[in-house]
Structures are given as structure tokens and as C-alpha cells.
Amino acid sequence: MEQQVTVAIIEDHPVVTEGVASWIRSDPGQRVRLVQTARDLTGLDTGAPSAAVVILDLELAGELVTARIPGLVAAGYRVVAFSGHSDPAIVMETLDNGAHAYVSKEEGRDHLVEAVLAAAADRPYVTRSQARAILADQRPARPALSQQEQQALLLWFQGMSKASVGRRMSISENTVRQYISRARAKYAATGRSAASKDALLARAIEDGVIKPGEIMTYESFARAAGD
């Protein structure tokens, strides 16, 4: 059996912590092990990381903590944001700060455990709310997505299963995943630098999701557009 992924939950509402813990417990493969829960970030960004992945509520005691993500990443955690804030700007800031994935509270039951597992393996995981934020992105420095990537993200955001998206686009479900992951990987190549983004990108290249050349093309394109 593969080793369990260790996870910590940072959440100021005990009832939500309890809910997340129950999703982790009810995972049939028992692939995730909860090792720590906390109501704030005290002490987390110093010393050795207590878990491979942190599930972070973006609002602790009434304050947005997106700015604390780089500290957690630097301390060696992989961060999965779990939040009621689905405002695309906040989702983008969360990813830009180095979070591996963003899961809205409505998506938790279906996606949180999978997002934690993907984060532990440095693989992209794109929820519908993340797809929405990418589609809504209007910043001049946003990465250039191909038409296929855009279309796959749009259909996924609209609520289709990946299999249905594949049928719609006349491609395999696997290719759908590839397009969506590639769009996500392009975002890891932009903005503020973070170890987690490098790891995600390296893994995407290793998995053949994206070619190093595609990242280069994008960077030179962004520079030209920014001039």
C-alpha cells in the first residue's frame, strides 16, 4: 500500500474542521491521515513541517490570510486553500501566492481529498471555482491559453463531467485532463516565484502535461505584450 499523505487543517470553525475530518475518514482508500488541526497559523511557518499538506481556510478570525501562504510554502508545506470566498480575484491571489489548489466550501465533499492527494504529488488540481477564476482573469500579464484549453476549462466550469467534456470536444477524457492541467501549469509559470510553483511545473513537465518550450513561448509572449 502506498504511504498515507499527512495533512493539517487550519480552520477557525470547529464544525468545519469536523466536517473535513469526516471526509478524510470516509475516503475508501484511507489515503490521507490527519495529523494536526489548528485554529490559527501560530508556529506553523517556523520549524519542520508537521504535515505534507495544509488545508487552509483563507479567512481566520475574520481576516484574510492569503498573504501568509508564501510563508507556509517556504516552511515546506503544500497548501490547499479551502474557502467560502470564491471571488476570482481572491482565487487568483491564492494561486499566485503559491497554493497548489483552491477548493470552495461547496466543492469540499467532492474535491478536497482529491486536491490534497494531487498537491502531495505536486500535480495540478483544478476545481470548477478555479476554472472560473482562470476564465475570469483579465490581468494583462495572464498566460496565453490555447483555444482547446479555454474550451475545456469553460465546459468544466459549466458543470459537465470530464467525460462529457471529452464527448463534447471529441477527445478522450485523458486529453481533457491534460488541457486543464496545462492551463493550470501555465499559471504556475507566472507571477511571484514560489517553490511550490516550481515543483508543480517540474512535475507537469515530467508527466508530459506541458513541454518546456510551451512555457518559454508563453514568457516571451507575455514580455512582448507587457512592453
Partner: protein, 375 residues
């Protein structure tokens, strides 16, 4: 009825045009400076010293070549930031003309009668203004070296060297100062435009927030009548969470609450309101409906909106327990999609009014997309 509005987001463009307008003004100032220098400064010096040259006609020809290079450079700089090829082609022509003019000057008097060094330097500033600073530095260094080379060929004296350094200091100094100044102004213009943009956006957000707050209050009142009694029943134990009907009521109220919360970050528009109204009707039948938007949505004209709401009504009436509606900004329009457990095929309205309808059935789930295109 709302008038048709162009499908562009207004907040993004002003920044680019505003800082672009400033940059253009700076470019015009530099063009003016270079033209005045070449006509007045260099031209004046050339005429003043016309007796000193072995061939005044050759110097005049070089002056004309330089004038043409400046004219071409001005057109390039005013049209857009020139490509490195074009920019350097103009710069190299200016450099060649100035070196030829210097080489054809009388031995021993070259620095005294030289009119071309300054013009060539200014031409470089003009075409390399918005390229990397090191490119201009290389050009000015090449220009100085070429002049020094001509001096050395003629036999360099100590006094020549002092004169060379004096001219170098003042002419290159002025050119670097102007280039650096324009660069600083470009940055300042960009910052000013960004500040204006964020202020504009803030005002727009505040106005939007006021409208949303009112709509939200109305919904909150409605919730008092639906969600609160359910929670009270659950708390009192009169409603059993094990009962499928109670669970469905919970799902509907949860979807309603989520929509209420989600409304905060959306721009209100008649289309969104109409879809919310359709969703409210479906909710009364026990269907949980979520509505999400992505991107700045264009205003959709009335007739096209009616096709979209007709599709919404057809699908939501057929939905059994859940439906998801999304509105996404797409190139030149909007894509409104529905995913619902309708079970069977739904009769959708006919396309028209710039609206295209697509659908796909996967098992019990229907996906339908209504796309309105402004063109």
C-alpha cells in the same frame, strides 16, 4: 428595456490609452527637440563653417541623409515602438553619415567644424528611446569611438583629446539625460494611469455594491420565511434529517443561501436577475439551483435575453432535483449554460436574435449552452 451596449469591459482600456497618450506626448517632444537641433544647431553650424570644408556639397549631402534618417526615425517612433531591426537601421545610417562627414572635414579642425556628432546622437536617442537603455549606451559609445577614430587617423594631439572629451561630455551627457528623463516620465505616466484606473474601479464597485445590497436585503427577507423555519424545525426535532424530503428542502435552501452569498461579487444585470427569478420558481418545486458567473459580462439586448430566459425556463421546469447555471464572458459575447438532471430531452427554444443553442445529453444529465454574439 436596456439599450445595447458594446461587449467590452470599460475598466481596462482607459489605463492603456491614458499612459499611451502621455508617452506619445513625450515622443513628440523628443521629435521636436531632434528636428530643431538638426535644423538650427547642426544646420547653422554647417552653414557658418561652409568655407572650411573641402567639399561643402558632400557635407550638405550628409546633412540631408541625416535629415532623412531623422524623418524616418520620427515616423517610426510616433507609429509604435519600432522593431530593433528598423530602429538600428536608422541609427546605423545616422552613424555612417556622421562618420563620413567627420572624415571629410579638414585635418586639425574636425572638432571645431563638426556638426554631425550631435545630430547622430540625437537620432539614436529618438529611435532607441523605448528600447533597453544599454542599446542607447552602445550606440552613443560607437558614435564617440567613430569620431575618436577619425581624430586618431588625422593624428591625435593632446589638445584634440581635451576638445573631444569636452564635446563628448556635453553632447552625450545631454542625450543621456533626455533619454533617462523620458524613461522616468513614462514610468510616472504608467503609475498615474494605474492610480486613475483603480479609483475608477473603486467608484464603480461602490455603486454596484449599493445596488447589490438592496437586492440582497430583499432576498434576506425572503430567506426569513423559508430557511429560518426549516432550521427551527430541525432544531426542534420536528423535521427528520433522515427523511429524503427534508434533505431535499435543506439542499434547496442551501443553494439559495449560496446564491445569496455569491451575489456579492457579481455585477448586477437584467439577465442575471431574470435567471435568478427563474431559479426562484424552480426552487419552490424543490430543485436546488446554483448560478455562477465568470468574467465581465456584456449587456445582452432584450430579444436575445428572452431566448436565454426561455431556455432557462424550459430546462429548470424539467429539472428534477438540481441545476447549475453559468454565465461566462466569451469572445464578443456571452455563453449561458445549464446542466440539469432533466432525465429526458427538453424542448429548447429556437435560435435567433444573434443567439445559438447547443445541447448534449449524458445519461440523465442535460447540458445546454446558449451563446449570444454581439457581432
Amino acid at each position: 428595456m436596456t439599450p445595447v451596449q458594446p461587449a467590452v469591459q470599460p475598466a481596462v482600456q482607459p489605463t492603456a490609452t491614458m499612459s499611451g497618450r502621455y508617452q506619445r506626448a513625450f515622443t513628440i517632444a523628443v521629435v521636436f527637440l531632434v528636428a530643431v537641433w538638426h535644423l538650427g544647431g547642426a544646420g547653422g553650424q554647417l552653414l557658418h563653417n561652409r568655407q572650411a570644408f573641402a567639399s561643402f556639397a558632400f557635407q550638405g549631402a550628409m546633412w540631408l541623409v541625416m535629415a532623412l534618417a531623422i524623418a524616418a526615425g520620427s515616423v517610426l517612433a510616433l507609429r509604435a515602438a519600432p522593431s530593433w531591426r528598423l530602429a538600428w537601421a536608422v541609427a546605423v545610417i545616422a552613424l555612417a553619415a556622421s562618420t563620413a562627414a567627420a572624415a571629410a572635414s579638414p585635418v586639425g579642425q574636425m572638432l571645431a567644424v563638426n556638426w554631425a556628432w550631435g545630430s547622430a546622437g540625437w537620432t539614436g536617442v529618438l529611435v532607441l528611446l523605448r528600447r533597453r537603455f544599454t542599446e542607447l549606451a552602445w550606440f552613443l559609445a560607437a558614435e564617440a569611438l567613430a569620431t575618436l577614430g577619425v581624430l586618431a587617423w588625422d593624428g591625435l594631439h593632446r589638445t584634440d583629446l581635451a576638445g573631444f572629451l569636452a564635446v563628448l561630455a556635453w553632447s552625450t551627457g545631454a542625450q543621456v539625460a533626455v533619454a533617462a528623463g523620458v524613461r522616468a516620465l513614462d514610468v510616472a505616466a504608467g503609475q498615474a494611469a494605474a492610480a486613475a484606473r483603480s479609483e475608477h474601479a473603486a467608484r464603480e464597485r461602490a455603486a454596484t455594491a449599493a445596488i447589490i445590497r438592496a437586492a440582497r436585503h430583499a432576498r434576506w427577507l425572503a430567506l426569513q420565511e423559508s430557511a429560518v423555519p426549516l432550521v427551527a424545525e430541525l432544531a426542534a426535532g420536528t423535521a427528520d434529517p433522515g427523511d429524503a424530503q427534508v434533505r431535499n428542502r435543506c439542499a434547496v435552501q442551501a443553494a439559495r443561501l449560496r446564491r445569496l452569498l455569491a451575489e456579492g461579487d457579481e455585477v448586477p444585470g437584467p439577465l442575471v436577475h431574470e435567471l435568478h427569478a427563474s431559479a426562484d420558481v424552480a426552487e419552490r418545486r424543490g430543485v436546488a439551483v446554483e448560478i455562477e458567473t465568470a468574467g465581465p459580462l456584456p449587456q445582452v439586448p432584450g430579444p436575445a435575453r428572452r431566448v436565454i430566459t426561455d431556455a432557462a425556463i424550459a430546462i429548470l421546469t424539467a429539472a428534477r432535483s438540481q441545476a447549475r447555471i453559468t454565465l461566462a464572458a466569451v469572445a464578443a459575447g456571452i455563453a449561458v449554460s445549464f446542466v440539469a438532471d432533466t432525465g429526458a430531452v427538453v424542448g429548447l427554444p429556437a435560435a435567433g436574435e444573434g443567439v445559438a443553442i447547443d445541447h448534449q445529453q449524458d445519461g440523465g444529465l442535460l447540458w445546454a449552452e446558449v451563446r449570444w454574439n454581439s457581432r
